[in-house]
């Protein structure tokens, strides 16, 4: 293994994020309470610099550290998305933590550490490096989920997430070791060469593929590996939930696609069948169970499960297509999903009732009378999640279904669309509660929506993404198409 200083320049964004994380962790205890806002700006500044650096790295794939890491447009696409989500998370947390009276400076440190883990995940070309990134991300998230130490539900979320997450990491690692046994390498290109022309008749390869699918299935929260999601999403602080639902899912999809396309691309037809089953189960269960939820965070948790199912349609199609339109549709879907899901969680986070979060669907009753702007934004996010034009959600679904039809799986598109119609019911139930129910007379007990400058930035970004990319998605589509071209 050779090492060159040039490699360090290639991973400069990662290094910057980790440095910033360490500075935040070190400075937190010594800073006075009033100065701690500086940590927020430090984190945001780092993200802005990284965004510039990564944008300049959108080029032909360059290997670093003897092929452990590869810097390409594909990774850059995910990284830009992750910076964006992390920036929104930090801004949202700024208002949210104040409302919750959670003053932990290390919070921002953990957000950045999780981000660095995700960045490693999406640019690693070696299974063990991917595993390292996954663990860095997960460990930070376990801590963040349990941040509301006074609340049992938050602790339960953290513990549950940890146990199941550790379990799934074990499965992932087991899959990696089996794959190493079958192919003699953990590098994705080497694996691809080794399995060229092979099929899943080899039991070792079969088990390795299944275990990898299960391990990533946990991270992506697809059925039947979704059990942790509703509890964790409900219990964790909402800003963390938003971060998990969007960033962790995006990073996991990034790593997952790279492993299965670059490494196991030779087994396309085989894993496509596995994911078809997972995809159907996810679509059905996610959408149907969301129908009966009364807690908005649980509903959004099931909705995010269902959305992973829609993204999986693109993966299934990718397994059957010669061109890359299936994968591009997944990238596009996840990017568009970011705006609407994050926006919805941001609204939930800032709806306060008697000092705590109003996270029951009932709490939204009559919101349009009390806070017309918040209600209108939530309406837009819900419409987008339901996939109705002219919003981003429709564009995402359009491309995913298009790749399914292209792959000759019209029936899958039909099933998915029928469940999209089902999902419209629970998204619109929230609209109904907000717009068509009268708020109760006791005005003082009614939940209030707490607006703040940072929150308005978050909401503006989210709604701009939903509306602009819903009407003119062309730039994002082009970017996603370019990104998948660098995937070998």
């Amino acid at each position: 293994m050779t090492f060159s200083v040039g490699d360090l320049f290639l991973i400069l964004p990662e290094l910057l994020v980790i440095t910033a994380a360490c500075i935040v962790l070190v400075l937190d205890p010594v800073l006075r309470q009033s100065d701690k806002d500086g940590l927020v700006w430090l984190s945001l500044g780092t993200l802005a610099i990284c965004m510039g650096l990564t944008a300049s790295q959108m080029s032909t794939p360059t290997e670093a550290f003897s092929g452990l890491v590869v810097i390409d447009t594909y990774g850059a696409f995910w990284k830009l998305l992750l910076y964006f989500v992390t920036g929104l998370t930090i801004l949202l947390s700024h208002s949210y933590l104040k409302e919750e009276r959670l003053y932990f400076g290390e919070y921002y440190g953990f957000v950045l550490l999780a981000l660095s883990g995700m960045m490693v995940m999406v640019s690693a070309a070696d299974l063990l490096t991917i595993y390292l990134g996954t663990e860095l991300m997960s460990l930070s998230l376990y801590v963040m989920a349990g941040l509301k130490r006074s609340e049992p539900r938050s602790l339960e979320a953290s513990a549950k997430y940890f146990v199941l997450g550790a379990f799934s990491s074990g499965i992932l690692l087991y899959g990696i070791s089996l794959l190493y046994g079958a192919t003699g390498s953990t590098r994705l290109p080497a694996i691809a060469t080794a399995i060229a022309g092979q099929s899943l008749d080899d039991p070792l390869l079969l088990f390795a593929t299944i275990l990898l699918a299960v391990g990533f299935g946990f991270k992506l929260a697809v059925v039947p590996f979704h059990m942790w999601t509703p509890d964790v999403y409900q219990g964790a602080p909402t800003s963390v939930t938003a971060f998990m639902a969007v960033a962790s899912k995006a990073a996991s999809f990034g790593a997952f696609l790279r492993v299965f396309i670059e490494g196991l691309g030779g087994l396309k037809a085989n894993w496509s069948a596995i994911f078809l089953l997972l995809c159907l189960a996810t679509l059905v269960l996610g959408n149907v169970v969301a129908l009966v939820q009364t807690n908005i965070k649980r509903m959004l948790a099931y909705s995010s499960i269902a959305h992973a199912g829609y993204a999986l349609i693109g993966v299934v199609a990718a397994g059957r297509l010669e061109n890359s339109s299936g994968i591009a549709s997944v990238l596009l879907y996840l990017a568009l999903y970011t705006f609407m899901t994050f926006g919805a969680f941001a609204i939930v986070a800032m709806l306060r009732k008697d000092g705590v979060e109003g996270d029951e669907i009932e709490d939204f009753t009559g919101l349009s009378k009390r806070h017309p702007v918040a209600a209108l934004l939530m309406l837009i996010f819900m419409v987008s999640l339901a996939g109705i034009p002219p919003t981003a959600g429709f564009i995402g679904k359009f491309y995913v279904f298009m790749s399914a039809v292209e792959a000759g799986m019209t029936w899958l598109a039909v099933i998915a669309l029928i469940f999209a119609a089902v999902s419209a019911y629970f998204y619109l139930r929230l609209v109904m509660v907000m717009y068509m129910r009268e708020p109760s007379d006791a005005a003082d007990s009614a939940p209030q929506f707490v607006m703040s400058p940072t929150l308005s930035i978050v909401l503006a970004c989210a709604v701009a993404g939903v509306v602009i990319f819903g009407i003119y998605p062309n730039p994002l589509v082009q970017l996603a198409m370019q990104a998948v071209l660098t995937l070998r």
Binding site: I388, P389, F398, V405, T410, A421, Y435, M436, N474, V477
Partner: protein
């Protein structure tokens, strides 16, 4: 095509207006909405004269690349079929604003914004020449309409709103799949005109027809899918009912005419018996249900089911009379039923009841109102001299060429229409009003006159002079028929004489039948 993008202006002016009303007070919101909708009328009216009636091509075409891969275009155009529908929409919208002037008191800005968004989306549906663009406009209407019913509707509005939404959404999701399948089978394009020229295998046509059917039949609504309509109509505010009945229902039949017939000619012919049976069932069933209603809005809602049956019947006749009659009937139903719903809205504002029993004997206290009601009712039952007569006559003439039995059954609908409408008029206009109601029964004021008079003018204008509309749609309709029967009549008749009998009759007596419809119309 160079020049100012009038069609774009037609769509986006209301949308800009919708954004603008959010920044003003309630009273100005009403005014802005009125100005914007009237401006839209003024933009659309010149198109009527600028339109070249001799051409079957799309006119005023605007095209721009919207999404590069797959190639999706922002492409708009007008032909003789969409022109009358667009004009009908723009003319109805100011009336919807006017009728809601005082009846909508809460959240006026949002109400006007929703109305304007609806207008933009509805016009977009009629103008779109790209299938994806069409779908975007088609679906974009759902949420505003859902809010219109659910926020400003009657007591049972929540149920009606979600029922409307889920029915129409479930129908249209299959449309999206069909659009995608057509893209890959029809040469990787979403261009409606290009797709209309492709040939597709019979089995593919079969499935796509079913998917189209799911979307369009729910919207029309055709017989087994009509159950959302009475609920939605009864609960919606007056403007919502007018939009629903006059414009939204037309989108279903417009979809059949624009997509099913030209793109899937074989499947359309194969499904003709089914469509005819469903249409006739709708005509008779709707009329029977209307007879039994004691709620005015429900009565008109069921009469819509019946009248829309004539439209679908005419469309699937594949002859000039049938299809032109169907398009005429689409416009006529929009005007007449719109007028009837406006009338119900006027009386509801006074008595707060839509029950026939509560609103009897209005001639004495409200003579002008009774006149309007009678005119609209007579138009709805197809009295010669009014607009509906022309459309229904042409549809029946077209049906007669195809099957005499079907014509006989369909004619029952006209008889029943006379029964339920005249019975309704008898009770509402000529009874003895309850004494405690009398103080509430003020006659129509100036604003309401302004709302109702344009429709009365249109009723007689179209009823007496249908030719301007017919000549404009003639080339476009012939183009559709040529798609269904591509071969020259002589050759085709030799291959399958039975099937092509109607076509030959059209060729021989097309113009004669045409004028006869017109002269019949002039003989009140």
């Amino acid at each position: 095509m160079t020049g100012f993008p009038w069609l774009t202006a037609l769509i986006f002016l209301p949308l800009i207006g919708a954004a603008a009303v959010f920044f003003v007070k309630d009273a100005s919101a009403r005014l802005i909405a009125l100005i914007v909708t009237v401006a839209d009328v003024l933009i659309s009216l010149p198109l009527w004269w600028l339109f070249d009636p001799s051409s079957s091509h799309m006119q005023f075409v605007e095209s721009a690349l919207w999404i590069s891969s797959p190639p999706i275009h922002y492409r708009l155009g007008l032909d003789g079929i969409s022109l009358p529908l667009v004009l009908m929409t723009t003319i109805l919208m100011p009336l919807c604003v006017l009728i809601s002037w005082h009846s909508i008191e809460s959240r006026v800005q949002s109400f006007m914004a929703v109305l304007l968004i609806m207008e933009g989306a509805m016009i977009g549906v009629f103008l779109a020449l790209d299938f994806v663009l069409f779908y975007v406009f088609w679906e974009a209407m759902l949420i505003p309409m859902y809010l219109l019913i659910g926020v400003w509707g009657g007591p049972n509005r929540l149920y009606a709103a979600i029922k409307f939404f889920l029915y129409t959404l479930a129908g249209s999701v299959l449309l999206l799949v069909a659009i995608l399948v057509l893209y890959f089978q029809g040469g990787h394009t979403f261009d409606i005109l290009q797709l209309s020229q492709g040939t597709y295998s019979k089995s593919l046509q079969f499935w796509i027809f079913l998917a189209f059917f799911a979307a369009f039949a729910v919207k029309v609504p055709m017989f087994p899918f009509h159950t959302w309509l009475p609920d939605a109509h009864v609960e919606a505010p007056t403007a919502g009912s007018v939009i629903l009945a006059s414009v939204l229902l037309k989108m279903g039949t417009y979809g059949f005419l624009r997509f099913s017939l030209p793109m899937l000619p074989d499947a359309s012919q194969a499904f003709t018996p089914l469509m005819v049976v469903l249409s006739i069932v709708a005509i008779i069933y709707g009329a029977y249900m209307a007879l039994a209603q004691d709620d005015l809005k429900k009565l008109i809602a069921y009469s819509s089911v019946s009248h829309m049956g004539f439209v679908t019947l005419g469309l699937f006749m594949f002859n000039i009379q049938g299809i032109e009659g169907a398009v005429m009937q689409m416009v006529n139903h929009g005007i007449t039923t719109g007028g009837l719903f406006l009338c119900v809205g006027v009386i509801y504002e006074r008595t707060h009841s839509r029950q026939i029993a509560d609103n009897i004997g209005l001639t004495k206290p409200m003579p002008r109102y009774a006149t309007f009601l009678v005119i609209f009712a007579l138009s709805s039952l197809g009295l010669p001299g009014t607009n509906s007569f022309v459309g229904e006559f042409m549809v029946l003439a077209g049906t007669f060429l195809w099957s005499k039995v079907a014509t006989a059954f369909a004619s029952l609908g006209i008889i029943l229409a006379a029964a339920y409408l005249l019975w309704m008029v008898q009770r509402v206009a000529f009874g003895v009003p309850a004494p405690h109601m009398l103080p509430k029964l003020r006659d129509v004021n100036l604003r309401e006159m302004v709302t109702l008079v344009p429709l009365v003018v249109l009723i007689f204008l179209i009823g007496l002079f249908p030719n301007p509309i017919l000549t404009r749609m003639h080339p476009s309709v012939e183009k559709v028929i040529a798609r269904v029967f591509p071969a020259a009549p002589e050759q085709a008749a030799a291959v399958n004489p039975e099937l092509h009998t109607p076509r030959r009759l059209v060729d021989a007596g097309g113009d004669a039948g045409f004028t006869s419809a017109e002269t019949e119309g002039r003989r009140p």
